[in-house]
């Protein structure tokens, strides 16, 4: 990212900086790529920050950018633009591409591409097993050296307990987590939505919550056996919360994330959308009882991270009979509006606590460093208008994936500007590259 001569000052902005545990009105100076000293110089371009929030290093640790291999769904450029539009300064890309990101050179390639694009910091996730086939461990060490910040066979649950045990064992030597998409395929096979009264009444094949939770329990036991770093992706089951509670009591190194759609929507949406597969996502949307428990688990710190599981698909693929359409929601550009709607509008969390889940907590999980908004820190932050009311329109997404069950929904709160390394990547919903 090239050095700018003139700096910026964001005046009278509400700074919500979970890295320093600060929530106060400040002026933020940007000089070159970094946060600068306060200055009386008039060389700084002024941005009026009144009524806006400024949050550093918003990070989405679970996105699918599909490149290489599935560029009709998304690529690193379109995904990066979606991230910038959604207010993110950093993302972690999942390795279920073609070829799979399972060797160091592919990790390096993704990072080089991201640097050229320059819209968002990309921290790649490498595969746990070669080809994500679940049979042999990939070279986790060399991928970590090349910049992988975690490992996951996401999309393909790691069903072999022996390989999972080995991966967790290795994670202790790397300081990077094993991120599991927990799903017992024997219990979920053929399922397309949550198994419960709605699936039974619509006659759609169901996926019980236990398909997820039995594997979370197993993995927690393996984390106990190995001392490994386990991160449970997109938690969506009551039993998984019990397992996380148990892990916490035992003091295991187990963390978890939840996706905004599981906090905001329920399986009743499948009926409301008249079988349109925009609601089809894995893990599936759950009933309201589970949704409430997930929200509580976030509030009491049991789930420390919120991540989008941004899973774009081409319109033609989503436009199929329900059973045949692929799983996934394009989630980057509705993320902030959704989580503000769930936690802030209803007063369930204060902004500082909420933004911990998308800043300092994912950094901790992944072993990443960021000092917060201190002089010399990379100038990565997002300006958010917490009052803005807007209607979701998938056609306007920067992502190639227009697939959202929030289409036509009113949200409150949206990012209005994003800066990465001292460069604006988005202003007023306009991505600047």
């Amino acid at each position: 990212m090239s050095r700018e001569q003139t700096g910026w000052v964001i005046r009278n902005v509400r700074v919500i900086d979970p890295f320093r545990d600060v929530d106060s009105i400040e002026d933020i100076y940007v000089k070159g790529e970094e946060i600068g000293e306060p200055s009386l110089s008039t060389d700084y371009s002024v941005v009026d920050g009144r009524d806006l929030w400024l949050v550093p290093r918003l990070t989405d640790m679970h996105v699918h950018f599909r490149e290489p291999g599935f560029e009709n769904k998304e690529d690193l450029l379109s995904g990066s633009r979606a991230a910038a539009a959604g207010g993110f300064t950093a993302v972690c890309t999942m390795p279920n591409t073609f070829p799979t990101i399972d060797i160091p050179s592919l990790v390096q390639w993704q990072r080089d591409q991201a640097k050229n694009i320059g819209l968002v910091r990309i921290f790649p996730i490498g595969a746990i097993s070669k080809g994500q086939e679940g049979r042999e461990l990939a070279d986790l060490y060399q991928m970590a050296c090349a910049g992988a910040v975690g490992f996951s066979d996401d999309g393909h649950p790691l069903r072999d307990a022996r390989i999972m045990r080995a991966a967790l064992g290795y994670s202790t030597t790397l300081g990077r987590p094993i991120i599991q998409h927990a799903e017992d395929p024997a219990l979920s096979e053929g399922g397309v939505m949550h198994e419960g009264s709605v699936s039974q009444q619509l006659g759609l094949p169901g996926i019980p919550e236990e398909a997820e939770s039995v594997m979370v329990w197993r993995d927690v036991e393996l984390a106990g056996l190995t001392g490994g770093l386990l991160h449970v992706a997109h938690v969506s089951a009551q039993g998984s919360l019990e397992a996380l509670d148990y892990a916490k009591r035992r003091g295991l190194r187990v963390t978890a994330e939840v996706s905004p759609h599981h906090l905001f929507l329920t399986d009743a949406m499948i009926r409301e959308w008249n079988f349109k597969p925009v609601t089809k996502v894995n893990p599936p949307l759950r009933p309201d009882g589970t949704r409430q428990l997930l929200i509580q688990a976030v509030r009491r710190g049991l789930i420390p991270v919120i991540a989008s599981d941004h899973a774009p698909h081409h319109q033609d693929e989503k436009d199929r009979p329900y059973n045949e359409a692929p799983f996934g929601i394009s989630g980057l550009e509705t993320f902030i509006g959704t989580i503000l709607g769930v936690f802030i509008v209803d007063g369930l969390l204060d902004p500082l606590s909420l933004f911990r889940l998308v800043t300092v907590e994912p950094h901790k999980v992944l072993g990443l460093e960021y000092p917060g908004l201190t002089v010399g820190a990379p100038a990565d932050f997002t300006l958010i208008d917490p009052q803005a009311k807007w209607v979701v329109d998938g056609k306007k997404f920067y992502s190639r994936g227009k697939n959202t069950p929030l289409e036509g929904t009113w949200l409150q709160g949206r990012p209005v500007a994003t800066m990465v390394g001292g460069q604006w990547t988005m202003r007023d919903q306009e991505v600047l590259r």
């Binding site: 419960g196 009264s197 039974q200 009444q201 619509l202 006659g203 759609l204 094949p205 008249n274 079988f275 349109k276 033609d316 436009d319 199929r320 009979p321 329900y322 059973n323 045949e324």
Partner: protein
């Protein structure tokens, strides 16, 4: 009423008026000359993505008795393989000035999705495990012909309810008309959440059949054994089969229904099927009447009362 996708979304009034009309149509079927000119000049498509000669023939006859033209389109395999999507197929047919589409598909929800994109009426001829509304209507018509009215009757639906579109349509029409519905079958294929709708759900066949006025026997798909949901057809027959012994638990004048085709000796014994309690042939006849009523109501034969 614009389409007939699911009985769940129909009002009791709609259901009653369709059943009255079906009864009139049944009387037309008793005439020596059945053909009436009501839908002359109208064309309907039988768009079947899953083979079913019985249902297709029934719709075809119904349309022809009303003097409509019928085109049969049989498609197999998934739409994906063909390149052309199912929506393209339907849109093309609709452009050919067809007046209605009758659709059968192995995936739940496809008729609803079609109804959302097509301007012409869509009639669901069975979608996945979701609904089979004309079957639900013909079952209700048959029971009411046998018993006079459905209000207060106990109707047992026996078998693989979870995968049955027939059961779902039956439940909605029977509840709407005031029947008491009991679902019974193996625990692996019993959707227990129907209790929320006031339906009794049990694995105990004797309990389900006691005092029953009507028994709907569902077809057991052989694949339930391969999927591990039942141990064997023999075990199934032993515990949930309708035999002369189990049928004796019901009221002496209880009627037996089956949507067909039957697996004789599995879910139902031949002697029961051929007994005087069995109304399965009347179901077949009523199927044509109900489909005539639905086509008449949706394809412009209506009396402007909707």
């Amino acid at each position: 009423m614009q389409d007939l996708v699911a009985l769940e979304s129909l009002s009791t009034q709609d259901i009653e008026s369709l059943l009255d009309l079906s009864q009139n149509m049944a009387e037309i079927l008793d005439r020596p000359i059945k053909k009436v000119p009501t839908l002359r000049g109208k064309a309907v498509v039988n768009l079947f993505f899953e083979p079913s000669t019985r249902t297709r023939n029934s719709f075809e006859l119904a349309a022809k008795y009303l003097s409509a033209d019928v085109i049969n389109v049989q498609q197999s395999g998934s739409s994906v393989e063909k390149g052309e999507t199912l929506w393209d197929t339907a849109r093309n047919l609709s452009e050919m000035a067809v007046d209605g589409v009758i659709v059968r598909h192995q995936v739940s929800g496809v008729p609803q999705q079609l109804a959302d994109i097509l301007d012409i009426p869509v009639i669901n001829a069975g979608d996945g495990s979701h609904e089979h509304p004309t079957q639900g209507l013909l079952d209700a018509l048959t029971i009411s012909q046998a018993k006079g009215s459905l209000a207060g009757l106990k109707v047992a639906i026996v078998g693989d309810v979870l995968h049955s579109r027939v059961a779902r349509s039956d439940i909605h029409v029977l509840l709407a008309l005031g029947a008491h519905v009991v679902l019974v079958g193996p625990p692996t294929v019993l959707p227990e959440s129907y209790e929320e709708l006031g339906v009794e759900v049990t694995t105990d066949l004797r309990r389900a059949l006691s005092d029953a006025d009507a028994i709907q026997v569902l077809r057991l798909q052989k694949e339930r054994q391969n999927s591990g949901e039942i141990p064997s057809l023999w075990e199934y027959r032993l515990r949930w089969g309708i035999t002369s012994q189990t049928v004796s638990w019901a009221k002496p004048d209880a009627v037996i229904l089956h949507p067909g085709p039957q697996n004789r000796g599995v879910e139902i014994d031949s002697d029961i099927l051929e007994s005087s309690r069995s109304w399965v042939l009347r179901q077949v006849r009523n199927g044509v009447a109900v489909r005539m009523a639905v086509l008449f109501r949706l394809l412009g034969g209506g009396r402007g009362d909707e």
